[in-house]
């Protein structure tokens, strides 16, 4: 591929675009908040498959009689399947709620196959949310340190800002659309970090190499050349990853769809950010070839 797109000419547009996306995400996060799923809020979820189609109104009536007026009832896929969610009630042990709901619905409607039933205590939910947040921070910190050792501080900053950018936008989109955020989606978010990082490093690697081999050219030109050289690869890898995610979205079923959605968004944003956020930031930080003059150390590391 003999591309010569002047990526960096558009960098101010990209900065504005990223800015808008980030602000919108933060606003959505503050205003709408994350639609935290059962894993993080605690509560009860029961999914039953009946032999005949079931009217959710009837299910609600039965549950209200049982004292679960706060239950959320939803038909799934086919009309035979019903999902019941009961939010956590402070100070009340809910460990038997699932069993109660199951038995009264079977009694009131008919034979049902238990698809799944979940109960998460409120403390467990809080802990999972805390641990998840911690995992994100630790992941970002470790990445920062590793890139600082392998590259320089400026690259590390660029990479981490790109990652934070991706994570905020993915979470922001989840807030905007009100999609449920559970443990698998958290795992997807961490995988997005991994993926976007992979992309950013590949680009940074080429920028570093070009800074060393191509002398006497402006940093903007070198970065542009590097981005063009890596564009083919970046697009191909994003494409293959999107292909498998498509397979997961189409065939994986309802339980994995949130995970696949988060990753799909993350891959798209991650590809964009490794071009426009990480590289853009290098220019803003005024990267020079002197920043990368550490060949002696490199040689010894490669001999591992």
């Amino acid at each position: 591929m003999n591309l010569n797109i002047d990526f960096m000419a558009n960098r101010h547009i990209a900065t504005v675009l990223s800015g808008i996306l980030l602000v919108a995400s933060v606003v959505a996060f503050v205003w709408l908040g994350v639609n935290r799923g059962l894993d993080f809020t605690g509560g009860v979820l029961v999914e039953l498959a009946f032999e005949e189609p079931v009217d959710p109104v009837m299910v609600r009536a039965i549950l209200a009689d049982d004292g679960y007026a706060n239950a959320v009832v939803q038909s799934l896929g086919s009309e035979r399947e019903v999902q019941v969610r009961v939010p956590p009630v402070p100070g009340i042990d809910q460990s038997n709620v699932g069993d109660n709901i199951q038995s009264s619905l079977v009694e009131g409607i008919g034979v049902a196959d238990l698809r799944r039933s979940e109960f998460v205590g409120p403390t467990v939910g809080e802990e999972l949310a805390e641990k998840g947040g911690l995992a994100l921070l630790v992941a970002l910190a470790m990445v920062l340190v590793y890139i600082m050792l392998r590259f320089t501080g400026k690259f590390a900053l660029g990479a981490v800002v790109a990652l934070v950018h991706d994570v905020i936008i993915v979470v922001g989109l989840f807030c905007m659309f009100g999609w449920t955020f559970n443990l698998p989606e958290l795992a997807a978010l961490l995988a997005v970090i991994g993926y976007s990082l992979n992309d950013t490093i590949v680009v940074s690697d080429r920028i570093r190499e070009n800074f060393r081999t191509i002398r006497r050219r402006k940093p903007v030109e070198i970065i542009n050349t590097s981005l063009n050289q890596m564009l083919g690869r970046t697009l191909v890898t994003s494409l293959t990853t999107l292909l498998v995610l498509l397979a997961l979205l189409l065939a994986g079923g309802e339980q994995i769809s949130g995970f696949a959605t988060a990753l799909t968004i993350g891959v798209v944003i991650g590809t964009y950010s490794s071009i426009y956020v990480a590289a853009n930031l290098l220019l803003m930080l005024n990267i020079q070839s002197e920043d990368l003059a550490l060949p002696a150390k490199e040689g010894s590391e490669d001999a591992i």
Binding site: E47, S95, N96, G98, D99, S103, R116, S117, E118, V120, G121, T123, V124, K131, G132, A135, V138, A139, M142, V143, Y146, I147, R150, L183, P184, L186, A187, G194, L197, N198, I201, D205, R206, R212, M230, G232, R233, V236, T237, L239, T240, T241, L243, V244, L245, L246, A247, L250, A251, G252, G253, Q255, I256, F259, A260, L263, P295, E298, D302, A303
Partner: protein
């Protein structure tokens, strides 16, 4: 070229002059081939679908399950027209493999009605099971299939929280009683209060500071490192001493409590008749229980909730009224005991089997908590020479077969059984540390276990429960596998279209990566979950990245070099990039693994293994294949 030092000769290349094609050393082909063969061997068991089987274990029966028993069970089924595929002894009993699910359920019912008579306590545990069908020669190599997680196999996952604060409070209450007893003995007056114990420790207030100094001297003899910290503090306006437990001691209490509860739970779970249950500690204060194949969570919970306890009572004297007396048999003789309890098993904190240091006769050493110690002391001091009995009360689930509406059902009843397990003469006033003598070695051993197991160290409650129905589990497997196949096919097709011959090579590497990934997971005994399958799918998409990097580099190099040199440079120069990118992704995956639990961990396991195996196949193996195609000859043009 100055570059050579940076990107040059590493693990994967041999330096030759750029003009002539160079050889790829033979040993590298052997390594690649060896890994492939091992990969196939250890991935293979996953291709054998498991058999529907029925597992029989002894519950209350005295029968020994051996080859004869197995043969009889087999004959019984075959006489009823159920074809038996295979029957084999396992570590815990016997397993009968059948041809389909229908036969499996019929066989269970049949065995149930023959082995467990109606109205009697259950003799055998008969559980449905999916038995692996790995051929013997593979099993001899230690090759077994991956375990399926509950979201794929169906079953119940419980997490129980052990209430540590109550275990610690119990201990602090003891400390308060012991400390005040010491002060009374030393004649140091303290200000009595109702609530010595707080969450931080034990506060003992004094009228003035000189008393506190005296008290400190008295307490320092028994209190201090490594278990306690004594501090002088101001408490509610009075000078006070604060006794706190050290972190080491707290950890010790927590560990003892959780271990004891684990033992109790394991016994309960065994009662449930599940083929492969898991009872495991989770973090510092939780216990996780997994019951594959079980669907009825309310029954499981009822059984896990029940435990045993002990009652200590004095033998009745002739003056006691009959209404105060309970008669229980002990070794064939009726023993008359008072109905009033001195203490119960709740007050026993620990028990060990031992021998009397002087007579070397067997005995059981017990430690009571403060309340228990005081009570038993008050009760035994005036009653030396009288006998004391210990009653073991067990609330256990008993599984009984009944006929309801003409259908045979298994019912679980909570049965309370009361047994007199020891009657011994009181030799002297008992206190916090007591011993029971006059019993046989075997009884001493059993009693110590029962005393320990009987006392539940701390209350527990359910904090998490996830049940996955069998139908959803099957669906999850099917959908997950379909996603893997579609993803693999799409990527493979794309690679061939885009990279031609090199695409085929990348696809071969991708396939090998899948085989090695599954083999490593099987070898490590990793559990496959739905997010784990998602991790595999993602690995497919990302594993080709290394090849994409190499191939696009080769294309670039082709513009300024001959094919052989371009290939060599492509591999060498892409290596550092691949390494950097994968090491950082591996970081993230390992953080996921360390911090995450459940679905997150399942995903992280496959992702981490996938990263490592994909680096091997897409660099090491693909280079070998490229040289097989283009090496050792002069190449004019390559298809990339």
């Amino acid at each position: 070229m100055p570059d050579n030092r940076v990107f040059g000769q590493n693990l994967f290349g041999t330096r030759t002059s750029a003009d002539q094609p160079y050889r790829y050393p033979l040993w590298r082909y052997f390594i690649a081939l060896g890994v492939l063969v091992l990969g196939i061997l250890y991935a293979l068991p996953n291709l054998f679908p498991p058999d529907h089987a029925v597992q029989i274990e002894v519950d209350n029966s005295s029968t020994i399950i051996g080859t004869r028993f197995t043969a009889q069970a087999r004959e019984l089924l075959e006489n009823e027209g159920i074809d038996v595929k295979r029957a084999a002894l396992t570590q815990r009993g016997t397993q009968i493999h059948l041809y389909d699910e229908l036969d499996q359920i019929r066989a269970k019912d049949l065995l149930e009605s023959r082995l467990n008579p109606v109205g009697m306590e259950r003799q055998f545990i008969i559980a449905l099971n999916l038995a692996p069908t790995t051929p013997q020669w593979l099993r001899d190599l230690g090759s077994t299939p991956m375990t399926l997680g509950l979201d794929l196999a169906g079953g119940i996952h419980f997490v129980l929280q052990v209430d540590m604060q109550s275990a610690i409070n119990k201990q602090l209450g003891d400390e308060a009683d012991k400390a005040t007893a010491i002060l009374r003995d030393a004649n140091v007056r303290y200000i009595p209060t109702e609530d010595f114990v707080s969450e931080t420790g034990v506060h003992i207030p004094f009228a003035d500071e000189s008393r506190r100094t005296e008290a400190m001297t008295a307490l320092e003899i028994s209190y201090g490192p490594p278990n306690h910290v004594l501090e002088e503090v101001e408490w509610r306006g009075a000078p006070a001493i604060l006794i706190t437990l050290t972190q080491d001691r707290l950890n010790e209490i927590e560990n003892a409590a959780i271990e004891q509860n684990l033992t109790g739970l394991r016994n309960r779970v065994n009662e449930l008749g599940v083929a492969e249950p898991l009872v495991q500690r989770l973090g510092s204060s939780r216990i996780v229980i997994e019951l594959p194949g079980v669907q009825d969570s309310s029954e499981a919970k009822r059984i896990l909730d029940k435990f045993a306890t002990l009652e200590f009572r004095l033998e009745a004297s002739v003056t006691d009224r009959p209404s105060q007396i309970e008669v229980l048999p002990y070794q064939g003789v009726d023993v008359r005991l008072l109905k009033e309890n001195i203490v119960t098993g709740d007050n026993v904190t620990n028990a060990q089997q031992a021998r009397d240091p002087e007579t070397s006769l067997p005995q059981v050493n017990m430690q009571f908590d403060s309340i228990g110690g005081e009570r038993i002391n008050r009760a035994t001091a005036p009653n030396i020479g009288r006998r004391m009995g210990i009653i073991f009360i067990e609330q256990r689930p008993v599984v009984v077969n009944e006929i309801v509406d003409g259908e045979r059902v298994e019912r679980t009843k909570i049965e309370t059984s009361r047994r007199l397990i020891s009657v011994a003469t009181i030799q002297g006033a008992l206190s916090y540390n007591s011993r029971i003598t006059g019993i046989s070695v075997r009884d001493a051993q059993e009693l110590a276990i029962l005393l320990r197991a009987g006392a539940l160290a701390a209350p527990m409650y359910f904090v998490e429960e996830r049940t996955v129905g069998a139908s959803l589990g099957d669906e999850n497997i099917d959908r997950g596998m379909l996603a893997v196949v579609i993803g693999l096919a799409l990527v493979a097709l794309f690679m061939i279209v885009y990279y031609k011959v090199f695409g085929v090579i990348a696809d071969i590497c991708l396939t090998m990566n899948m085989i090695v990934l599954v083999a490593v997971m099987s070898l490590l005994g990793a559990t496959l979950t739905l997010p784990g399958i998602a991790g595999i799918v993602l690995t497919v998409g990302m594993a080709v990245d290394a090849n994409v990097l190499i191939f696009s580099r080769i294309r670039e190099e082709l513009k300024r070099a001959a094919p052989a040199t371009a290939i060599k440079n492509g591999y060498d120069r892409a290596f550092v990039t691949i390494l950097d990118a994968n090491v950082t992704t591996l970081f993230v995956a390992l953080i996921l693994l360390a911090i995450g639990s459940g679905p997150v961990a399942g995903f992280a396991v496959t992702l981490s293994i996938g990263i490592v195996t994909s680096m091997f196949t897409s660099i090491f193996v693909s280079r070998g294949l490229v040289h097989l195609v283009y090496g050792n000859r002069a190449v004019r043009k390559i298809w990339i």
